[in-house]
Symmetry: C2
Subunit: 275 residues, 2 copies
């Protein structure tokens, strides 16, 4: 018997992966959680039927959502990840020796537990003494902590279900207030091919709050269209004006100093979404 997992990425297109084995399925308080082992991408975390991360290509997403904002800041010490229960963003953040504290604020403890059990390569740093896992609503956490953080990373699921509140202007204002006076924020903001309206709206909302707003992109094969956008809001620092030599080699597989700059170069059809 051949088992194939198919995700409809839009109502009209999908990715299909040959499955070795289904390792875990459960329904948490917030969502359906599945962990499958695929031939092409190794183990894969699936939330509400949507691929979140895979062993083979997770490096792109986790490196790009973290190192771009962290190297855009001269001295990031206190960092927050909202969502990101698999721990991949925390792993990358803690490669920066100056980081003193990295909070993972994940609403669903079951995502953290399943990732610890089945994705040790990704969740490896969650037990680091500089990491603090808080199982609570990220929106509430951000609201309650003002003027606290150097970098905030919103590593959310798609803007449906539990993540809807992470894609609204009120939340971006809370993030602004939660950052120190020179803080930087990045959110994953979906595919420039499939989520044009969302990208336009989020960019406009963030631009209305942050003095510096930038979109950057990368290639992630298991995400819809394979082309993914992140939106950065910065209170002070321009990610394209960072001193020569700041970006250190952290053993990354995708990110490097040239990729940092090139990721902000946008094709015409993406630039148009931001006008």
């Amino acid at each position: 018997m051949e088992l194939w997992y198919t995700e409809k990425q839009t109502k009209d297109v999908g990715i299909t992966c040959k499955v070795k084995q289904t390792l875990h399925v459960e329904k948490s308080k917030f969502q359906d959680i599945a962990l499958i082992d695929t031939e092409q991408y190794g183990r894969m975390l699936v939330l509400d039927g949507t691929v979140q991360t895979t062993i083979e290509d997770e490096f792109v997403y986790h490196e790009m959502i973290t190192h771009v904002p962290l190297f855009s800041h001269p001295d990031p010490r206190k960092v927050v990840v909202v969502g990101g229960g698999d721990g991949g963003a925390i792993r990358e953040i803690l490669k920066h020796p100056g980081v003193e504290k990295a909070y993972l604020v994940e609403i669903d403890d079951r995502v953290v537990e399943v990732s610890k059990r089945f994705l040790p390569e990704i969740s490896v740093a969650l037990n680091d003494k500089r990491a603090e896992v808080r199982i609570e609503d990220g929106i509430k956490f951000i609201k309650e902590n003002r003027n606290q953080f150097d970098v905030i990373i919103v590593d959310s699921t798609d803007p449906v279900g539990p993540a809807v509140g992470l894609f609204v202007k009120d939340f971006y204002q809370s993030i602004f207030d939660s950052l120190k006076e020179d803080g930087i924020f990045v959110a994953q903001t979906e595919s420039p091919f499939y989520n044009k309206d969302l990208i336009s709206r989020v960019y406009r909302d963030i631009s209305s709050i942050f003095p510096v707003t930038k979109l950057y992109v990368c290639s992630i094969p298991t995400y819809p269209s394979g082309y993914w956008a992140f939106t950065m809001g910065s209170k002070k620092f321009n990610p394209l004006e960072i001193p020569e030599g700041r970006i250190k080699d952290l053993g990354t597989k995708y990110y490097n100093a040239d990729v940092h700059k090139a990721a902000f170069v946008l094709p015409n059809f993406v630039k148009q979404l931001l006008e």
Copy 2:
């Protein structure tokens, strides 16, 4: 009834697209040709079960395989496309006013005819007076024309079936001989995620013949992994050292002067394939 077309892009992963209608199916002398109308990507040309081009995302591939080499050359007048029977590369090439002649050398006349009939937006320029469609073996054509061309573009199918001979060192030597003393050549060279060995080998082969060899990348949703590589061999000009102001706005949707440079910036895992 819901009809879905699924392409296995590797033996373990595929793309699946909802189909409105199958418009045409035939078996030519060289390959299976299908033309389907999909909900997400509009009309789609499928050769031997592999997506070649779609109305919605063809702009990325056709702009990137043409404008990068053409703008890297100071005065491209005679250009050849090997393969590319859909005509999309020719359409982009003829946007350059200095081009006097663009040959399309396609082995399978049925691809040209089906594209003319079902993909008028893509094949539109094949009747231009500067275009010459030659139905013949590209390998033979290149061998027979020495010191003739400014730019040669290899717009081939995957390296199986009729296209095998377009991915070998002998062919790259013929291309070198077929170019003028300052000519430039680009070939589509598959996915850095799925075709690592091929990219390494082709880069090595081209480097052993051409003084300047460069890989560049772009994002194409309907191609395997969504991330695509092109390899350039140049006899004289460095595509990263082009005079300010040469790159004109041709109304492109993906390509622009900044994308030209950024496309050559490679993630670490891709750089490693070229070492």
